[in-house]
């Protein structure tokens, strides 16, 4: 099973819940802004903890309130591409890509550089990159960390239309080259359909 997620978290009096049990390798969380999609990704990554429930990804229990399991973020082997990218501003692209690299487990560096088209950016500083370039570097950094699963938070936001196709192609390439499950957050159903993802819609809780 790719994802077995049943969580509940209350933030500032607002409940966020998700139930998702699927073998699909690519799941798209779809819903309006503010519904808690990023909060779900943060729970799966271990940045925050659910109040109750469980998170099992690719057969590994990351969180279970019943048994008290709550793996630290650093031990979850997650490849998280944040909506705001979070490239380290004091490190060049090369060092950003190498930061979490687990050589034995990750995809080949040259291969990643080639299919993301970021080989020429290695000596650049993050602040000098365009939105699309920064997004591709962020995806490359996540892939090179040898993740067991990928979390992509609105990877096409704040990217111009021409660049979006390139990022979607890159995600397609990842699916072809690596069998790891992907949880993809978007507010655009068409984007999820374009990727042939299993669509899980989140609604405002009362």
């Amino acid at each position: 099973m790719s994802f077995d997620i049943d969580v509940k978290q209350t933030r500032s009096g607002r409940p966020i819940t998700l139930f998702c049990r699927t073998d699909s390798p690519l799941v798209a969380l779809v819903g309006p802004s503010g519904v808690g999609k990023t909060s779900i990704l943060n729970m799966v990554a271990g940045i925050t903890s659910p109040d109750q429930g469980h998170i099992i990804v690719a057969g590994q229990t990351l969180f279970d309130s019943d048994t008290g399991i709550d793996l630290k973020t650093a031990r979850r082997q997650v490849g998280y591409v944040f909506q705001d990218r979070r490239l380290f501003p004091h490190l060049r692209v090369r060092a950003n890509l190498a930061y979490g690299r687990r050589a034995a487990m990750s995809m080949d560096m040259d291969d990643v550089l080639a299919f993301l088209g970021i080989g020429h950016l290695l000596d650049r500083w993050p602040h000098s990159l365009s939105g699309g370039e920064a997004q591709r570097v962020a995806i490359g950094r996540a892939l090179l960390s040898g993740p067991r699963f990928l979390l992509l938070d609105e990877p096409l936001s704040s990217i111009d239309r021409d660049r979006k196709a390139g990022i979607l192609d890159a995600i397609d390439q990842i699916r072809r080259r690596s069998p790891i499950p992907i949880l993809y957050v978007t507010h655009d159903v068409a984007e999820a359909e374009r990727l042939s993802a299993l669509i899980v819609t989140m609604h405002e809780e009362d």
């Binding site: 979070r86 602040h127 000098s128 996540a142």
Partner: protein, 233 residues
């Protein structure tokens, strides 16, 4: 030897530099720990710790010197212990002057470092955690480098404050030529002499040049670091 300085004046200059450098070097790690604690931790009595750290900033320096005298003097709680256990005395010694300078510099240094720690984007630290980094690695490779401009600013501020320290130093370790007579104390001593005006002028110019030099060096270092980019992308 710097042109125009007598051997005695040269001793004053090197002593001042030694006292300031030791004060800053020894207090820097302590200031960083206090700043980190105040910026990141929540604990009962935090307000009191914050107030105590900043106390030397608002207390008359003479009072700070008197308190140091009470604590580190021959009959002081810590002073007697240092003397009995290590055979060390700080009274009338340059090490005492360094202690007084450090105590007076601590509030400024803690403030500068704390501001830079508070300015670190915590989202970058969580990004590093998702990449498998341990807390120590995140501190060494993300938090510390991003706080570096603030640490440098703290070093310069602390150094300048130590160079200019007068009240607490003269109260605690008095004016002993060659041992505790730092630049400000030497200026004060020269002002008491009928023919001390040229000495005062030379020392005053020297003080200005040293402080200015420290500020320029710090600015160059900060800009060099900033050239690497500080914007979160």
């Amino acid at each position: 030897m710097i042109v125009g300085l007598s051997p005695e004046e040269w001793i004053v200059l090197t002593l001042s530099l030694k006292v300031s450098l030791v004060a800053v070097t020894v207090s820097l790690p302590i200031c960083f720990c206090i700043a980190w604690m105040l910026a990141r931790w929540h604990f009962p009595g935090k307000l009191l710790v914050d107030a105590l750290v900043h106390l030397p900033l608002v207390l008359p320096p003479v009072v700070t010197g008197w308190l140091l005298l009470l604590l580190f003097g021959m009959n002081g709680l810590i002073g007697r212990w240092l003397s009995d256990v290590f055979g060390v005395t700080l009274l009338f010694r340059w090490t005492g002057a360094a202690l007084a300078a450090a105590i007076m510099a601590v509030p400024l240094m803690v403030r500068a470092i704390r501001l830079s720690i508070e300015a670190i984007d915590r989202r970058l630290e969580s990004a590093a955690a998702t990449l498998g980094a341990s807390r120590l690695r995140i501190f060494l490779t993300i938090s510390l480098p991003l706080a570096l401009p603030g640490v440098l600013a703290a070093v310069v501020l602390g150094f300048a404050r130590s160079l200019g320290e007068f009240g607490a130093t003269i109260t605690f370790v008095s004016d002993v030529p060659g041992e505790t007579r730092t630049l400000p104390i030497a200026i004060y001593a020269a002002m008491q002499m009928p023919d001390g005006e040229p000495i005062v002028t030379r020392f005053a110019i020297l003080s200005i040049l040293l402080s200015l030099g420290a500020l320029i060096v710090s600015e160059i270092l900060v800009r060099r670091i900033a050239r690497g980019g500080r914007h979160v992308i």
